[in-house]
């Protein structure tokens, strides 16, 4: 049962083959027996899950079931969940029992979906390997010495290991797509503003976006149908009609114009990964797509631009973690500054501290123009490059990450090399575009993700292009040996 997709499980529930309670129990049992190996969950909520499943079964019996009714899901621990610990992977929020629900959580609750628990993640979503979590690293289900990627590493590992049919992730610089690539699943980062950020603990407000992490593009469409939409509580969410994302999945991609940025296939890209991507592109050619080489000349600016903008925003966003109204508070503060300095010093891990320091510096007097304003300008150049490219092509493709999953501990002493593992994903966030990673094959027995990038609000197109690939290939159906 746990190898089924959301679409299949939903059909099974509707046909009465099993109940949501039974289904939920299957996943709870798997988490219980297998997650010790992976550490993909921070919190598992069995009573709550079974209660929701019971209600879902009642809803279905009453004829009120939507597609996601009774489907168990895992939620990244970045989404505030009322009366449940919402830690964001940090000691700082270990004591934080959220008094309210994120909009995304409310939407899934309203759809009748069941929450299995909260998944592990890099602390405050800052990381590309899930090693910065205060709750310890997550292991890659394909090879337990390897990282699952990050920051949504727990969600990616849980879905790949069949501990949940699907999960939510968030993506600020690649945090859905890179772990999806490393774990061999499908991940979609929607257009900035497509999904509400309310109740999703902010890392970098102008870059953060939530999206689905699933095994198939079809499941991602089903999830996005629930997640997308304007939220009056989020000023940056966009008031743009939400289509049925499953409607165009089966459209033909004959004549689709695919752009391959030459900068994404140059030095730094692992040869074995390049081969997988090239054969995936050939597959598209076979399906009738037209391939064009394009150029995104400012690609090299994406990582430096990002490492000004994201830390600047995060330094301010995380200032509210001050030990006064919620979260970790140091023992016996001797004065106000002592309360702040020690609570924050004890509550945050090294990577978060590093970024707060960089951001604080970049915004400080005398440096603001040279760093922050400059980065905002290069950000526009990067966005302009994409706009220009989309004059000629429908979709841009390339690798989601320069390599397959690296080993745990391999890059922890080398922040910059770690940052470069997001080199192909970061520009998409800066431009606010939708991007996906879909399983495209294996290199050295580890999964490789193909990245698809679309125009603003072109999620339907991306899902269509991804779904057509998944009809012709079976990479997305492969399961790691120990979790089959």
């Amino acid at each position: 049962m746990y190898n089924k997709t959301i679409a299949e499980l939903s059909a099974g529930l509707e046909a009465g083959e099993f109940s949501s309670v039974e289904l939920t129990q299957v996943y709870l049992d798997r988490i219980n027996s297998l997650d010790e190996q992976l550490n993909s969950f921070i919190t598992v909520t069995p009573e709550r899950a079974l209660e929701q499943a019971k209600n879902a079964d009642i809803q279905r019996a009453a004829g009120n079931a939507g597609i996601l009714n009774g489907i168990p899901l895992a939620q990244k621990d970045i989404f505030c969940t009322k009366d449940v610990k919402t830690s964001c992977g940090s000691k700082m929020l270990d004591p934080f029992i959220s008094p309210y629900n994120a909009t995304t959580i409310n939407k899934f609750n309203d759809s009748g979906a069941v929450m299995l628990g909260k998944t592990n993640m890099d602390e405050f979503a800052m990381g590309s390997s899930n090693e910065t979590s205060w709750y310890g690293p997550v292991k890659n289900p394909w090879k337990q010495d390897a990282v699952p990627g990050g920051s949504s590493g727990g969600s990616a590992a849980a879905v790949a290991a069949r501990l949940a049919p699907a999960a939510t992730g968030t993506d600020t610089g690649g945090s859905i797509r890179q772990p999806a690539s490393f774990c061999g699943i499908t991940g979609l980062k929607p257009t900035y503003g497509r999904v509400s950020r309310y109740g999703m603990i902010a890392f970098a407000s102008s870059l953060d976006q939530a999206g689905p992490m699933t095994r198939t593009a079809e499941d991602a469409a089903l999830m996005l149908n629930v997640m997308a939409g304007m939220d009056p509580r989020d000023s940056t969410s966009v008031d743009e009609a939400v289509p049925d994302y499953t409607a165009n999945l089966n459209d033909s991609i004959e004549g689709l114009k695919i752009g391959l940025p030459k900068e994404y296939f140059s030095e730094g890209l692992d040869d074995s990964v390049a081969k997988v991507i090239e054969s995936a592109v050939k597959e598209y050619e076979k399906m009738g797509a037209v391939i064009k080489e394009i150029s995104l000349p400012t690609s090299n600016l994406a990582v430096p631009t990002y490492y000004i903008i994201a830390p600047s925003e995060c330094s301010s966003n995380l200032s509210r973690m001050d030990g006064v109204r919620f979260g970790h508070r140091c023992k016996d503060p001797k004065d106000l500054n002592d309360l702040y300095i020690r609570s924050r010093g004890e509550g945050f891990g090294p990577e978060v501290k590093r970024r707060i320091l960089v951001g604080t510096y970049a915004l400080s007097e005398g440096f603001y123009d040279a760093y922050y304003v400059k980065a905002q300008k290069t950000r526009r150049l990067i966005a302009n490059d994409f706009n220009q490219a989309f004059d000629d092509v429908d979709v841009i493709m390339g690798p989601a990450a320069p390599s397959t999953a690296f080993n745990i501990g391999e890059l922890t002493d080398d922040p910059i090399t770690m940052y470069l593992s997001d080199i192909y994903t970061i520009a998409v966030n800066l431009a606010g575009l939708p991007g996906m990673s879909i399983p495209a094959g294996f290199a050295n027995d580890m999964p490789v993700g193909l990245q698809l990038i679309g125009k603003h609000f072109a999620e339907s197109k991306l899902l269509n292009v991804a779904h057509q690939f998944q009809k012709e290939t079976d990479w997305h159906l492969k399961a790691p040996a120990s979790f089959k």
């Binding site: 600016l301 330094s315 575009l433």
Partner: protein, 96 residues
């Protein structure tokens, strides 16, 4: 080359009210310097006349109607607060 030393890090850390262990200072100084060196690349591009981009979409702010929609939820909101008394959040005595 942007070389930050220990005292720079101390200053920034205080501005951010961020406790950093004495023995970790040199490492943070080195990390920060490396990151700033990487960022130096941006100076190789001419951005004269480029409008700074604060948001990915060129959208404008929606205006909320002036209505009271929130009710008193103090008990729930303070139930997990570190320290409260008589409905107030407590902090070490502040001298004005």
């Amino acid at each position: 080359m942007s070389r930050l030393d220990k005292s720079d890090v101390e200053k920034i850390a205080f501005l951010a009210r961020l406790g950093v262990d004495e023995q970790d200072m040199p490492e943070y100084a080195a990390n920060l310097s490396n990151i700033l060196d990487m960022v130096e690349q941006l100076n190789s591009v001419d951005t004269d006349g480029v409008k700074p981009m604060a948001h990915p979409l060129d959208a404008v702010q929606r205006l909320r109607a002036d209505e009271v929609t929130e009710v008193n939820d103090r008990e729930n909101l303070q139930s997990h607060a570190p320290e409260t008394a008589e409905g107030l959040y407590l902090v070490p005595r502040v001298v004005e």
